[in-house]
């Protein structure tokens, strides 16, 4: 109990919190991200309707403008409805959940993969290092969205049709995860190469610890802080990658839309003046991606002593 208190106390007096409070942009970004995450987590409780339940939709509610009663049904929606009569507010909240879930899990996948490969490459050196890092070099020559589309395409081709929609989200996560591991691997490898020459690693090696244990127990904790920064920035990238894939029609299915899918639907109605279908999901995506990015930037500055 007391240990925890002192931890809180230490946090309250830390540079970290001090810097955080002094940066209004960061505070605002943080609040936005927390709010959006809470909305996504408690979507079932917060959203007025469940937009994924196709049977509950009334097509006659389609194209209702925000805050105006529908011409046929008389129902009113805060942010209006899309072409299928889905309440946009609910669709955005549920879409946010899809986007954040895909983004977070994809980043975790990329992180686990990148950190492991980076550790092995940096620690082992030699041909293992060459192999892993050349693979990374080759991968970065392609834009990551292209890699994600390639993986997505292959996976869809291999899956039987009835499983495609069920596994669309999983495939999306794997596709984005596999396309974003390189920055993690490169950073971790560099730091590992520096760390492995230090005395504490040499000492660990002398007392006969295995390489796995040295990597995980001794080196890993010392290379984590840059990983945290990359993870935050990659999260923003992953959310945008998911939106891009869905916008291109290869991501989340239209019956269970993510933010990108909603934007794709909305862009068809820009010329006809039904602006709300595009604007609200796009604004939400912008707020989310921008806030996460600003947080990541701030974290990078804070955790890098050379920038202080």
């Amino acid at each position: 109990m007391s240990a925890q208190k002192s931890l809180m106390g230490r946090f309250r007096e830390s540079d970290f919190l001090y810097d955080f409070k002094r940066s209004p942009v960061t505070v605002v970004s943080f609040v936005i991200v927390v709010m959006l995450i809470l909305l996504a987590v408690f979507a079932d409780l917060v959203a007025p309707t469940n937009p994924f339940d196709a049977g509950s939709l009334n097509l006659m509610n389609g194209f209702t403008p925000p805050m105006q009663p529908n011409a046929f049904t008389g129902e009113t929606f805060y942010l209006g409805t899309d072409d299928q009569g889905r309440d946009l507010l609910s669709a955005i909240i549920f879409g946010l959940r899809v986007s954040l879930f895909v983004g977070l899990t994809a980043v975790i996948l990329a992180m686990v993969l990148g950190v492991s490969l980076g550790l092995i490459a940096g620690y082992r050196g030699g041909w293992v290092d060459s192999l892993i890092m050349r693979a990374a070099d080759i991968q970065v020559t392609f834009p990551s969205i292209l890699i994600a589309m390639l993986i997505f395409g292959i996976a869809r081709g291999l899956l039987p049709p009835h499983m495609r929609d069920e596994l669309a989200i999983t495939v999306l996560i794997i596709a984005i995860g596999l396309s974003e591991w390189v920055p993690f691997a490169r950073t971790v490898r560099g730091t590992t190469m520096v760390e492995k020459e230090k005395e504490y690693v040499q000492a660990a090696r002398l007392i006969g610890l295995g390489s796995g244990q040295i990597m995980l127990r001794h080196i890993l904790p010392n290379v984590l802080s840059p990983v945290l920064v990359i993870a935050t920035i990659t999260l923003a990238l992953a959310i945008i990658a998911e939106a891009t894939l869905s916008f291109l029609g290869v991501g989340a299915p239209p019956t269970e839309p993510s933010l990108g899918t909603l934007i794709r639907i909305g862009q068809d109605f820009l010329f006809s003046g039904e602006w709300w279908i595009l604007l609200f999901p796009a604004a939400t995506l912008l707020a989310l991606a921008l806030s996460v990015n600003l947080l990541g930037d701030w974290l990078r500055d804070i955790l890098n002593p050379r920038l202080k």
Binding site: A54, L57, D83, P161, Q267, S272
Partner: protein
């Protein structure tokens, strides 16, 4: 000084004038989807025929109003002493794009090619017994019985050069459902108004006017070049028209009709299309094999809502898979049942599916007007009676072979009727699947009495008796709720004011008819 300025000005004006004239002869044409193949007999599909019509000719064709007019045949009639034989007089002096002469050998070859394995045009010629060359410019087509409507089946039956086919090993069409391709998939040699210059699938196809075209003096023939670009996204397609990047689009999205027609320099041509959109369901296996389930699905579809919201009134809801253009159509058949969820749920319960079932809906997303949006709406409507639908929307290039493969339990299809007769619908969509009939009937529906009646239509010369049989077949199909009809499409072509072009009910622009004003 002054005269120099004037002269300069005149020069500039003249230059601008000349350059507009030159560029005005190029037509930049866009629609949602590309042609599926350049092989004229491999796919019986609207956009495929629409592009093929620029390059290849058929014996007779429909003009922009839909009336049958001569093309490569100048005269045709059944022989007075034998009604089973139609005699066609061929146009003389016609050459292919490579210079070879067109003659009766090519007609015999082309019609046999269209009846060969791999052809998607077989059903149109199922009444044909033999095609014979009488002399170099006369051809006889003998049918199994007298077929008074044979000529209606020939408007999309394109003529290829036998020598060219032999030289390039394209004696038979490639089977699209099996994923085959051949030389003719990407190369052409027709007698049509335009020659293929270059083609990049789903991107751009360039055609140039055929200097030796036989119809040069018959049609206005003002277009010298066609640049055809499929643009799947409706917003992008409309933006291309609004910005002047393209001159004509065949499918103005319904939500943008007001915007396009109120834009200066643009107009919208509207016409009812000879095409019906419907859902196919498995009639033989699974929950939909139960008639009550199909009836429940049929009345769960809210056609009025689809018309109002998805189509913005640009459709004509129907209860039968037959557009009003077609012989056999009646207002009674066209009537659709009221949307009735309670009755639908009761039917589902009767059939033992009170808790519904899972099914996948296969849908194209670049073929019909708002195809994917209609399917999405259907997902919701089926959900209201407990049917949990997974939507699988794909480009038509993947959708059509999948449907034809017979693996779909629930799918969207549209059907245009180039012959303007019910027999065409029956032979492709209703007849039991055999080698040469029923190729687009993957539903498993099979009724030998109906099959016999369909075949009998091909040799029935008494039109009253024929129409009675047609009505009987429709009654049988409707009683079984074989298909779930949605609506007939309305065409909206968006184009520049400077173009004079009638909207053709088959959605086929024939660019030799286009004039500039």
């Amino acid at each position: 000084m002054k005269s120099l300025t004037t002269r300069l000005a005149v020069g500039v004006v003249a230059g601008v004038f000349v350059s507009t004239l030159a560029s005005a002869e190029t037509i930049r044409w866009a629609r949602a989807g590309d042609s599926l193949t350049m092989d004229p007999h491999a796919q019986n599909e609207g956009p495929t025929h629409a592009l093929a019509h620029q390059i290849y000719d058929s014996l007779l064709q429909r003009d922009m109003s839909g009336a049958i007019i001569p093309s490569l045949a100048t005269e045709w009639a059944a022989l007075p002493d034998n009604p089973n034989v139609w005699r066609f007089k061929l146009r003389k002096g016609v050459t292919y794009h490579d210079g070879a002469a067109f003659d009766s050998e090519d007609v015999v070859f082309s019609l046999n090619r269209a009846m060969a394995d791999g052809s998607d045009m077989k059903e149109l010629l199922s009444s044909v017994k033999e095609v014979r060359a009488v002399d170099s410019h006369t051809v006889d087509i003998e049918t199994h019985g007298a077929n008074p409507l044979l000529v209606n089946n020939l408007t999309n039956m394109f003529m290829m050069d036998k020598g060219w086919a032999e030289a390039n090993d394209v004696m038979t069409p490639h089977d699209v459902a099996k994923g085959e391709t051949n030389f003719a998939t990407m190369n052409t040699n027709g007698t049509g108004a335009f020659k293929l210059v270059s083609r990049s699938i789903d991107e751009k196809t360039v055609l140039t006017a055929n200097p030796n075209y036989w119809g040069k003096s018959i049609y206005p023939s003002q277009v010298t070049e066609i640049i055809y670009t499929p643009i799947q996204s409706s917003a992008t397609r409309v933006a291309a028209l609004l910005s002047g990047e393209v001159d004509i689009i065949q499918d103005v999205p319904v939500q943008d009709l007001g915007r396009v027609s109120s834009t200066a320099g643009l107009k919208v041509g509207t016409a009812a299309q000879n095409r019906v959109i419907f859902f196919g369901v498995d009639n033989a296996d699974g929950p939909t094999a139960d008639l009550r389930v199909r009836q429940a699905m049929n009345i769960a579809i809210n056609r009025e809502a689809i018309k109002k919201v998805v189509m913005r009134d640009q459709s004509d809801p129907t209860g039968v898979i037959m557009p009003p253009f077609v012989n056999g159509w009646t207002a009674a058949l066209n009537e659709y049942p009221a949307h009735d969820l309670d009755k639908a749920k009761a039917l589902m319960a009767d059939a033992g599916y009170a808790n519904g079932f899972d099914i996948t809906l296969n849908c194209p997303n670049d073929r019909y007007i708002n195809d994917e949006a209609i399917c999405q709406a259907a997902v919701g409507m089926m959900g209201q009676i407990g049917i949990n639908v997974t939507l699988d929307a794909k480009p038509k290039a993947q959708h059509f072979p999948f449907i034809k493969g017979g693996d779909s339990d629930f799918y969207m299809l549209g059907w245009g009727v180039p012959t303007f007769d019910s027999h065409y619908i029956f032979n492709f969509l209703v007849h039991t699947r055999t080698g040469d009939r029923g190729s687009w009937n993957p539903t498993g529906y099979s009724d030998s009495a109906v099959d016999d009646m369909i075949v009998s239509l091909e040799s029935e010369t008494d039109l009253a008796a024929r129409n009675a049989t047609i009505a009987k077949i429709w009654a049988a199909i409707q009683a079984q709720q074989m298909y779930l009809p949605i609506h007939n499409q309305v065409l909206n072509w968006g184009m520049k004011d400077s173009i004079e072009f009638a909207v053709q009910p088959e959605d086929q622009p024939h660019f030799q008819f286009l004039t500039f004003n």
